[in-house]
Symmetry: C2
Subunit: 134 residues, 2 copies
């Protein structure tokens, strides 16, 4: 009830890895197979990813849906779209075009091919002009 997402096993493996041990060395130390160490470590990393995403959801709770960038849109057109949508809401976006484009791309590089967006992206904005991409 009081613990976090990671199991003791997962933390154990992460600690040993942080120390620089290989999966085989850890497997020997905790008496299991290296394949299992791999699985446990992977589960741990996945849990950490989930934890981050969960907290990001909290930000979007404070934020309003601004617009949806359609698949196929050019990165700079997306930025224009975001600025004009924000203006409609009377909110000033916290970023200039270049930073916005960078943030957008960094939010999920897999969703881009060169300058084009490959999947629809929901854009949220809060009162401070901070942006979130869902």
């Amino acid at each position: 009830m009081k613990e976090g997402l990671l199991t003791e096993r997962q933390k154990e493996v992460l600690r040993y890895r942080k120390k620089g041990l290989t999966q085989q060395q850890i497997a020997d130390l905790i008496s299991t197979s290296k394949a299992n160490v791999c699985t446990v470590e992977k589960a741990a990393v996945e849990n950490i990813r989930k934890a981050k995403e969960t907290l990001e959801f909290l930000y979007t709770l404070d934020a309003a849906h601004l617009c949806t960038i359609k698949s196929g849109t050019d990165l700079l057109d997306a930025a224009k779209d975001i600025f004009s949508s924000a203006e409609t809401l009377g909110i000033k976006v916290k970023y200039d075009t270049i930073s916005l484009a960078n943030r957008l791309r960094e939010s999920n590089p897999e969703r881009f091919r060169a300058r084009y967006i490959r999947e629809d992206i929901d854009v949220y904005i809060n009162e401070d002009g901070e942006l979130y991409f869902g």
Copy 2:
């Protein structure tokens, strides 16, 4: 695989609550009992707590175990212990005695009775002198 900790149901309830709806109103909207809305909301809050704790673990991964404060120790003696242990490691603690005592107590108020520690506390420190209590 790609989602966070919160289920769709949990997010749904949190969104409605953020809008100011009562549990009963939400129950009617999503066709269930108010008791269930309460349960789902509680699970959501618990998941958010877990997410936070999980990320805090990441900080302690960067940190080294400094010392263990034994149950029954006085708060100020604990602080002294932490300073001397850190000195042994050649790390300067980021806090003075008063702030340290406050941080220690705030880290988990339940573990204190007046100025005495009720349970063993593991203390971690990173290279910057930042402290974590486990």
